[in-house]
């Protein structure tokens, strides 16, 4: 039966296309009658940069099997530099997907100009096949995976990652406040380690939301060394995001602080 359902399954893919280039390219593709699979549901946005990691991760949580992002070629952005940011953000999204255990290949960023109708059809065809090979996304059904994606989602929303990724371009291209241009590799290293940290911290919060957990338990579930888990808990407690439960025996447990909203 599994094979049968596998055979009947069709990947659900969401496409975000920028108004000025890729959406226009898709239009041209239609005009030119290039065919491509029906799996992509396109959403028009003014610029690819509108798409936050949160949106993408949310879509994956909601059951999408793949997300395609289309923007103008580098240097062509209608809004001058939007796609540079998209590029940096997609790098972050892929890192977060990797962290969470979702195949990063479920997300693809492509530059499609208004004159590249044919290219657009090839991209959609190719991406659909790629997602088909990956099989149905397990995010919705697999509880463990879902919590990891949720953690990735939370991590993507942290000010730290937003700030680092948001500033990356200026720091590398235009120079920082000291008029130094940062080495992109060095900055990538900083962002990568921040991504890993923020993801793992978000996962700790996610896992400790419903029940208190010990460092060892978290380490086991997350497959992260326990000393590292503890260091994350230190940082989270500095931010007042997790609290120690009264320890019974020798193993304290921690519970996420659910922030009370407006009554």
């Amino acid at each position: 039966m599994a094979e049968a359902s596998q055979a009947q399954w069709e990947p659900k893919i969401i496409g975000f296309l920028c108004n000025w280039c890729s959406y226009a390219g898709a239009d041209l593709c239609g005009v030119s009658r290039y065919q491509y699979p029906t799996n992509v549901r396109a959403v028009r946005v003014m610029c690819s940069t509108r798409i936050s990691p949160h949106l993408v991760l949310d879509i994956l949580k909601a059951g999408a099997d793949g997300v395609l992002l289309g923007g103008c070629h580098i240097g062509d952005c209608h809004y001058i530099s939007g796609n540079y940011y998209t590029e940096k953000r997609v790098r972050l999204m892929k890192r977060l997907l990797e962290e969470s255990g979702v195949e990063p290949e479920r997300l693809r960023l492509e530059w499609v100009s208004a004159s590249e109708g044919e290219k657009f059809s090839k991209i959609v065809t190719d991406f659909t096949e790629q997602v088909r090979k990956l099989g149905p996304s397990k995010v919705k059904k697999d509880e463990k995976l879902r919590s990891r994606v949720a953690a990735a989602d939370d991590a993507s929303e942290t000010f730290r990652l937003k700030a680092l990724v948001g500033r990356e371009l200026n720091l590398v291209n235009k120079g920082n406040v000291y008029n130094n241009k940062l080495d992109p590799a060095e900055l990538d290293r900083i962002i990568d380690s921040a991504t890993e940290e923020e993801f793992e911290r978000s996962l700790i919060l996610e896992l400790s939301m419903s029940k208190p957990r010990s460092v060892k338990e978290l380490g086991e579930i997350m497959e992260v060394p326990t000393d590292k888990v503890l260091r994350h808990i230190v940082a989270l407690r500095q931010k007042n995001m997790i609290a120690m439960e009264h320890p019974e025996g020798f193993t304290p447990t921690y519970k996420t602080i659910v922030i009370g909203g407006e009554q």
């Binding site: 000010f159 700030a163 940062l182 900083i190 380490g219 922030i259 009370g260 407006e262």
Partner: protein, 1010 residues
């Protein structure tokens, strides 16, 4: 100005507890102080400590007031993030070139709100927490940091620009450059502190490799509520609570393999403390301390050690740990050691390495730049009679920079160095300090309250949560409020000008600021309204940040409601505020020093050189005290020579009047105004008293045949024999801890071990063939004194450790002594037949202490020594102002330590004697004479001895209490105790407090409408 002119300013290099104490003393006695610190904020290592031994006081709680005082003192200029580049000139007139690294934040604009750090996306290891927590690239070292100015870590900043955008005060300046400038000072004090020993240099303990091996300072941070685990003790490998913790002592101390042969003096005690605190944190924790000698040599330290053993059940194992290995599965640690000769292995969940103290990281640079010498171990060189002097005149030293030492000794040295620094430039005292002038105070008596309310946004710290405009509008509706406004930062310089303007414009007679905490900001606003001609006590504050917006960040509506309540309460009190007067007390600028030993003479000479008339009272017929009896000092210096030198100096000082063969019969009065009657009937008026009455060697009558056999001597008696060449024999036995660490004298006498080394070495020097045995419990040759222990051992002195349960037994076998002792480690019995038995008997207080204590209303310890105001931070003060103590009267100690304390009392005394008047507190207690019936219940509640029962003013047959406002500190203890409702505290009257409570409970109709 001529080169020889003295400059009335002092530079203090190093802003730890030592530098702080020096700076505060000097600034309070008429000198301008530049406090230079290499880190961006002052506080040093003490600011990192959780608790302090032997009182288990919270370190930050006792230190913070000094930090704030130094930060706000108008005669102290803090120069942080700075190094000393060049020192030119000579004593009395130095030109110091200072290099100050860029903060990249304008300290005059930064309000310390912390919005920048919250948003900074760069995380890095937090040095204050020894890397166990995270901080941002823009940071303050710790939350209570002084100055509270953020700075950018140039190594970590990626230059993203976010902090600048976040900063509403526009304080961030990325292009700020390093500043190099020159400062003229008369004296310099160096107190850069120490570095912790790098535990990686002892690879056998696995630090840096095994996660669960931590250093003592890391463990200290772990114990702290502001530490990584918020005060819980957890294993870094997996977050479990460790059941078994091993403390390994002497890591990087007493160890020739790593080059540090000296003892670090403090590790035994801090480990005992850390073990006790760990135990208090979790009863199931079982600490074990592995040590060689447990060196609890300070005042009441042994009692603390005994409590650790007996009350807390901490296990002490005498053994040096050879190596630590890890079980890779559990990450537990396996310790290998020998116990009574047996090799053992034991598993622990956590290992704490008691790392030693090594010279300050910049010791060599400082010595090169300032041109003073370091000793062989790399610490600053000092002499036994010059404990706070470097080899360069005019440059003084204090704290752990000259030798590893604890906080009380450091604080005493810091005051001592301040005294020396002040003496150098006495002629320039008062020339560089400023006194603030205020306009004449407006008379607001009988006026209706006209309250002005200033509500602060604190950037977004308050305004981002609390609806500030709404709070401000609400304030306007409250009775008595005639004006209200909101400010982006009410503490900014321009806001002060606005407040002054509004006081004028609206004829305000009360001011309320709703912003942050009064603990840091009240003095600022009080100063502002004083500049506007209002009495400082017509000010009230509502804390709507630290205790409202910051803790209700996700409940803006509720936070706004609470802010209104807090403002309503402050306004309710402010309506009832009244101007208070700071009474002035005249100061008699003479001093009385009781005791003419080395301590008293040192204090008298130093005071005299600072221009003070001194009466030095000595009960014996000659000066010199115990120093005359020492004969030998371990350093080789001659004590008699020093006595003669001091005597000559005292005689030559025309400011000193010596009263020999005299005692103080009666002392009356209070700070600035004492009157003393001497035993010869003379009367002396003076402003301060220094108690330097010394101590005495215990005569252990009957013990070990002392007094029964002529060959049994005390250590001092034996030294005299040695000096006179009367000690003729082939065999000597010394017994330690005679009358110390036992019975009614549970504490260590501190000096006997080293004294024994000196005598034993002398014997061996004279006759290398002599048999010399030292029978001991722990050898406590702390600090650099360890080398005398080593020297004695090298010369063939034999050491036999005995258990306090099995003390040596001495018998007289036909006139010949026989000593039987069981060696603790092996259990073997030794029989010795010495020609002389020398008893290292303890130091005891002088009996006159018991007569002086009630006269001066000062407390004593159980053992009869004087008890200072605070064991850690006020080692030479009493709670009673104007009375100080030093030397053996405080407890057993060495000559150099007594000299440091003597100098410290001078510095403390000069904070009083340098002034003609003292200003009393405004918020003092006052008594309603018609209600007081003189019951006296209040009197013992006053720690400052400000209350006295006197004849009633109206009816001399009745009694009443009199408040000495000169001594009252404004705590209100007596008010709470008064059964008649006769006592009240100004500024905290019942009506004022009740008005706040009523306001808090009031259901404001206006609020409900909103």
């Amino acid at each position: 100005m001529a080169v020889t002119d003295k400059v009335g300013a002092v530079m203090v290099v190093g802003g730890g507890i030592s530098g702080l104490q020096s700076a505060l003393d000097l600034a309070d006695s008429g000198y301008k102080v530049y406090l230079v610190e290499k880190l961006p904020s002052i506080g040093g290592v003490m600011a990192q400590l959780d608790k302090t031994f032997p009182t288990n006081d919270c370190a930050m709680c006792i230190m913070a007031p000094k930090l704030v005082a130094a930060g706000r003192h108008h005669n102290i200029q803090l120069i942080t993030n700075a190094d000393i580049a060049i020192v030119d000139g000579q004593a009395g007139n130095f030109t110091v070139t200072v290099r100050q690294r860029a903060f990249r934040v304008d300290p005059t604009k930064c309000t310390g709100c912390g919005s920048c750090a919250q948003k900074c996306p760069v995380e890095t290891a937090d040095e204050y927490n020894e890397g166990s927590k995270v901080r941002k690239a823009i940071f303050v070292r710790y939350p209570q940091a002084v100055p509270l100015v953020y700075s950018i870590d140039p190594e970590k900043c990626i230059g993203c620009g976010i902090c600048s955008e976040e900063c509403k005060a526009k304080a961030v300046e990325y292009d700020q450059k390093e500043k190099v400038f020159e400062i003229q000072v008369g004296s310099i004090i160096v107190s850069p502190g120490f570095e912790e020993f790098n535990a990686r240099l002892k690879p056998e303990y696995g630090y840096g490799v095994y996660k669960n091996v931590v250093t003592s300072i890391e463990f200290e941070r772990m114990l702290s509520a502001t530490g990584p685990y918020f005060g819980a003790v957890l294993r870094p490998s997996d977050g479990d609570i460790p059941e078994k913790i091993a403390f390994i002592q002497c890591v990087g101390s007493r160890d020739e393999h790593c080059g540090n042969e000296y003892c670090s003096s403090v590790c035994c005690m801090y480990s005992v403390k850390e073990a006790i605190i760990a135990k208090e944190h979790g009863g199931s924790i079982k600490p074990s301390i592995f040590y060689m000698d447990l060196r609890a040599f300070g005042k009441e330290f042994d009692e603390y050690y005994n409590r650790a053993k007996n009350e807390y059940g901490i296990r002490f194992v005498r053994s040096r740990i050879a190596a630590v290995s890890e079980d890779p599965k559990t990450r537990n640690l396996i310790l290998k050691y020998t116990d009574n000769g047996e090799p053992k292995e034991e598993v622990f969940n956590l290992v704490v390495l008691a790392v030693g103290l090594t010279p300050a990281a910049d010791a060599e640079t400082l010595s090169r730049v300032m041109k003073f010498r370091l000793n062989d171990d790399g610490f600053c060189q000092t002499g036994v009679f010059t404990p706070v002097e470097t080899s360069r005149p005019g440059v003084f030293v204090s704290g752990a920079f000259s030798s590893p030492k604890d906080i009380p000794m450091t604080v005493a040295e810091a005051s001592g160095a301040a005294a020396k620094a002040g003496t150098e430039i006495t002629s320039a005292r008062g020339t560089l300090v400023t006194k603030k002038e205020y306009p004449k105070e407006k008379d607001v008596a009988g006026q209706e309250a006209r309250i002005g309310v200033f509500v602060c946004h604190c950037g977004i710290n308050i305004g981002g949560v609390v609806n500030v405009p709404e709070v401000m509008e609400y304030a306007k509706t409250l009775p008595g409020v005639v004006y209200a406004e909101q400010n982006l930062y009410t503490c900014s310089q321009d806001a002060q000008e606005r407040i002054k303007g509004k006081v004028e414009e609206h004829k305000l007679n009360r001011v309320v600021v709703a912003s942050c905490t009064p603990r840091t900001h009240e003095p600022l606003f009080q100063n502002t309204i004083k500049e506007a001609g209002l009495n400082a006590y017509l000010f009230e504050m509502a804390n709507i940040r630290d205790q409202c917006s910051w803790i209700h960040m996700h409940e803006p509506k509720a936070a706004t409601k609470k802010a209104k309540d807090l403002v309503r309460m402050a306004i309710a009190k402010s309506r009832l505020l009244e101007p208070l007067e700071n009474l002035t007390i005249k100061v008699n600028q003479q001093a009385l020093v009781i005791g003419g030993g080395v301590t008293g003479m040192t204090a008298a000479i130093e005071l005299a050189r600072q221009g003070v008339r001194v009466h030095l009272v000595e009960k014996e017929k000659e000066l010199g005290g115990n120093l005359r009896k020492l004969h030998y000092l371990p350093s080789g210096d001659d004590p008699m020579e020093h006595v003669k030198r001091l005597e000559g100096e005292v005689r030559a000082e025309k400011n000193v009047t010596v009263h020999l063969g005299t005692t103080a019969k009666n002392i009356e009065g209070y700070v600035g105004n004492f009157k003393t009657t001497l035993s010869d009937g003379k009367e002396i008026e003076h402003g301060v008293v220094i108690l330097a009455i010394g101590g005495q060697e215990h005569k252990p009558e009957g013990e070990y045949l002392y007094g029964k056999n002529k060959d049994v001597k005390t250590l001092l008696e034996f030294k005299e024999m040695l000096k006179k060449g009367e000690a003729k024999g082939k065999s000597y036995v010394f017994v330690q801890c005679v009358g110390s660490r036992e019975g009614d004298h549970p504490n260590c006498s501190r000096v006997c071990c080293t004294g024994t080394m000196t005598a034993a070495t002398k014997v061996k020097d004279k006759d290398p063939q002599a048999d010399v045995y030292v029978l001991f419990r722990d050898i406590r040759t702390y600090g650099f004194r360890e080398k005398y222990y080593k020297e004695a051992a090298q010369k063939g002195v034999r050491f036999v450790r005995f258990d306090d349960e099995r003390k040596p037994v001495v018998e007289d076998k036909g006139g010949k002594l026989e000593v039987k002792v069981t060696e603790e480690d092996t259990g073997k019995q030794l029989v010795l037949r010495p020609d002389y038995l020398v008893l290292a008997s303890g130091t005891r207080p002088q009996h006159d202490a018991e007569e002086l204590a009630p006269m001066l209303k000062v407390p004593m310890t159980k053992e009869g020594f004087f008890l200072e105001a605070h064991m850690k931070l006020r080692p030479v003060d009493f709670a009673t102002e104007g009375v100080y103590l030093a030397g053996l009267a405080h407890g057993p100690k060495f000559v150099d330590e007594s000299i440091s304390q003597a100098l410290a009392t001078v510095s403390r005394a000069m904070t009083v004697l340098s002034k003609t008047t003292l200003e009393a507190e405004g918020i003092v207690a006052s008594v309603d004479e018609s209600l007081c019936d003189g019951c006296g219940i209040c009197v013992p509640t006053c720690e400052y001895k400000a209350l006295e029962i006197v004849a009633h003013k109206d009816d001399p047959k009745k009694k009443m209490v009199d408040v000495n406002v000169g001594l009252c500190k404004g705590c209100g203890a007596c008010v709470g105790a008064c059964p008649a409702g006769a006592l009240t505290q100004k500024g905290f009257r019942d009506e004022q407090i009740l008005a706040m409570i009523d306001a808090a409970l009031e259901q404001s109709k206006k609020q409900e409408v909103k």
